[in-house]
Amino acid sequence: MDSYCDGLKCRECGREYGLEPIFACEFCFGPLEVNYRYEDIREAMSVAGVEAGPNSLWRYSPLLPCSPKYKIDLGAGFTPLIKADRLAKVLGLSNLWLKNDTVNPTWSFKDRVVSIAIARAREFGFDAIACASTGNLANSVAAHAAAAQMDAYVFIPSDLEQGKIVGSAIYAPNLVKVNGSYDDVNRLCTELSMKKHWAFVNINVRPYYSEGSKTLGYEICEQLGWRAPSHIIAPMASGSMYTKIWKSLQELHKIGLIEEPNTRMSGAQALGCSPISTAYKNNTFTFVPQKPNTIAKSLAIGNPADGYYALKQMEETNGHAESATDEEIIEAINLLAETEGIFAETAGGVTIACLKKLVQSGAIHSSEEVVAVISGGGLKTVEAVSEVANNAMLVEANATAFEKETAQRSSQNVR
């Protein structure tokens, strides 16, 4: 089976292109979107067909812009949707679900987009794959390239967390640490993409790559029994995942698998890098780039490629943007872990912290059914919360020592 797409179209000026490794309209530099044959997809897909498919994102392959025969399947996607009653109670919600994307092959949602990018890159005949990354993407590109036996060139800011650096290096890519922010890395890679014959997943393969995030939305609807929730909150860096989730709900409706979605889409950013939520609060669609300063390094994109469309979507869906301080992010990581047993990286803390603030301000009503996207696992960013370990008991290996220490702590009210 081949893919159900037949071209690219500029989202700004409407110019059309073939299925090529290009990312921006040659005329106005606008972003390119994949054109699908939805009538054919409607015939090819059914609830029963999807449910009989593989337990990975490939169960939705007609809605993906690549041929599955080129896939490198590490098992990305079809992650759990968990009812989070304990966290809901603390936040003041009656109906909260967590989309737990910490359990992907390299522990973040980036395995979804890379699954598509690498299949497309192979279909295009590239033998090297590359990316500009804040860390999670680097991990996923390196892992998938190893499995595909492709050369990988992975560019990251030099100040990333150790877990993310080692989590890329282990797969033996060409790992390049760049002195500068993610936005500097991205500019470097955009320039390199015009010189090197490499598939830069988030540059010249970006129209295909970014479609992988749609699978988050497909899964949420399927796992809710083929319906869209009333509210989804997702973290925003470039704004790509946030916009693709909304697209996915509209697509499921277009092919007849769900009712028309009325989902409100809200986005979460770290205050130290909040170009989108700042523009939202200033009531403008023109964001001002920022120089990031936050512990949420995976969201530290100061010049977000999809910032404009994220802001448009917020207005269209009656959603909100919020931002969280480093302190609030850490508190939220702890809260999520202590109530639901899910250890999220800093981006997950951002999402939960912002959800909390939106409920407190009344922007999200307590009766709404909310799905929060937890996009990556906490072992990648242990630095952010390492203080929790300071208070661990240290005892000699005998029961008396343990009982003595426990009694002492109890008398001092120490956990």
Binding site: E12, F23, A24, C25, E26, F27, C28, F29, G30, P31, A132, Y182, D183, D184, N186, R187, C189, T190, E191, S193, M194, F200, N202, I203, R206, S210, A237, S238, G239, S240, V288, P289, K291, I301, N303, P304, A305, D306, Y308
Partner: protein, 90 residues
């Protein structure tokens, strides 16, 4: 003379040159100079209100001009100006 790095989509206007040079005191003048030597380039960079298009990033010596003075940002001899599509990354 400032040197200007030209992205692939604009090289059809520069005889496939990836770098061109021009003399100007600020970015607005620089784009006017580029239009003189390579007609057609200005409409690709500027919208109908003569502002930089939404998905065009311009850097002067690596600094986004939106952190400087936008089209009024000064351009000096030996500066390196990069024109880079904005829809990348993330």
């Amino acid at each position: 003379m400032a040197s200007i790095k030209i992205p692939t989509p604009l090289r059809s206007l520069t005889n496939d040159e990836d770098t061109i040079v021009a003399n100007a005191s600020n970015l607005k003048e620089l784009i006017a100079e580029m239009e003189n030597s390579h007609p057609g380039i200005a409409e690709r960079l500027l919208d109908e209100n003569d502002e930089l298009r939404r998905f065009v990033n311009v850097f002067i010596n690596g600094e986004d001009v939106r952190f400087l003075d936008g089209l009024d940002s000064p351009v000096r001899d030996d500066d390196e100006v990069s024109i880079v599509p904005a829809v990348a990354g993330g």
